[in-house]
């Protein structure tokens, strides 16, 4: 893992097509502006992780599921 120190207004380049601009730092919050090709999907890490976790739970339960109660409601 590469760890860099940057100041507001400075950039990080990943390859030759992704640019991360450090816009501002306010207390605990760091504001980033990201330029990337359209095919590169960018997610907040916690959202993607939450979906992976939910998908794993959804996949773990199905074989014996009985929905009779729900359907007859």
């Amino acid at each position: 893992m590469l760890v860099l120190t940057r100041k507001p207004g400075q950039q990080i380049m990943i390859g030759d097509s992704i640019v991360i601009n450090l816009v501002e730092v306010q207390g605990d919050n760091v504001r980033l502006a990201i330029e990337a090709p359209r095919e590169v999907k960018i997610y907040r890490g916690e959202i993607y992780k939450a979906i992976m976790e939910e998908n794993k739970k959804a996949a773990a339960q199905i074989v014996d599921i009985d929905l009779t109660d729900l359907i007859n409601k």
Partner: protein
């Protein structure tokens, strides 16, 4: 026809054109690219999304609009391109369901990341609604409805 193995349904035969392709897999299941939809039964809004590759892997899904009539979202340009979407009528939308314990009434739907299927080319994707207010867990039956049902 293709014969596949499933944990829930045993060995089944499916028509090639029923196969749904997830070119990027599903988050946490990126290697799973081919699925088929198997209805839970004739009348319910529930279906299984069964993996062709892994017999044990099946997701339970529902049409979200049956339980959440107000549900709406916008599909990002990149997904429109990836799925080759031309018109809204071609789309099938599902929400994955999770059951935390044994009580079926606790079942939740993931409205934050719907499954979008383009019926024209059978390509599909789980879309993440980054900017929406939706969550990974929405109770199918809100608590007040359940209380009424028990009376």
């Amino acid at each position: 026809m293709r014969t596949i193995n499933t944990a829930r349904f045993g060995e089944i035969e499916i028509e090639e054109e029923k196969i749904i392709m997830f070119p990027a897999g599903i988050p946490a299941f990126e290697e799973e690219k081919e699925f088929v939809i198997i209805p839970y039964d004739e009348e319910s809004p529930f279906v299984f999304l069964q993996s062709l590759q892994t017999a044990e892997l099946a997701f339970l899904m529902t049409s979200p609009f049956v339980f959440f009539p107000e549900y709406q979202f916008e599909i990002d340009d990149e997904s429109i391109e990836a799925l080759g979407i031309e018109k809204e009528e071609d789309l099938l939308i599902y929400a994955l369901l999770t059951l935390p314990g044994k009580d079926i009434k606790q079942m939740t739907a993931n409205l934050l990341a719907p499954i979008v299927i383009n019926q024209q080319n059978h390509r599909a994707k789980q879309i993440i609604l980054e900017k929406s207010e939706y969550k990974t867990k929405h109770l199918l039956f809100p608590v007040q409805d359940l209380a009424k049902g028990d009376e």
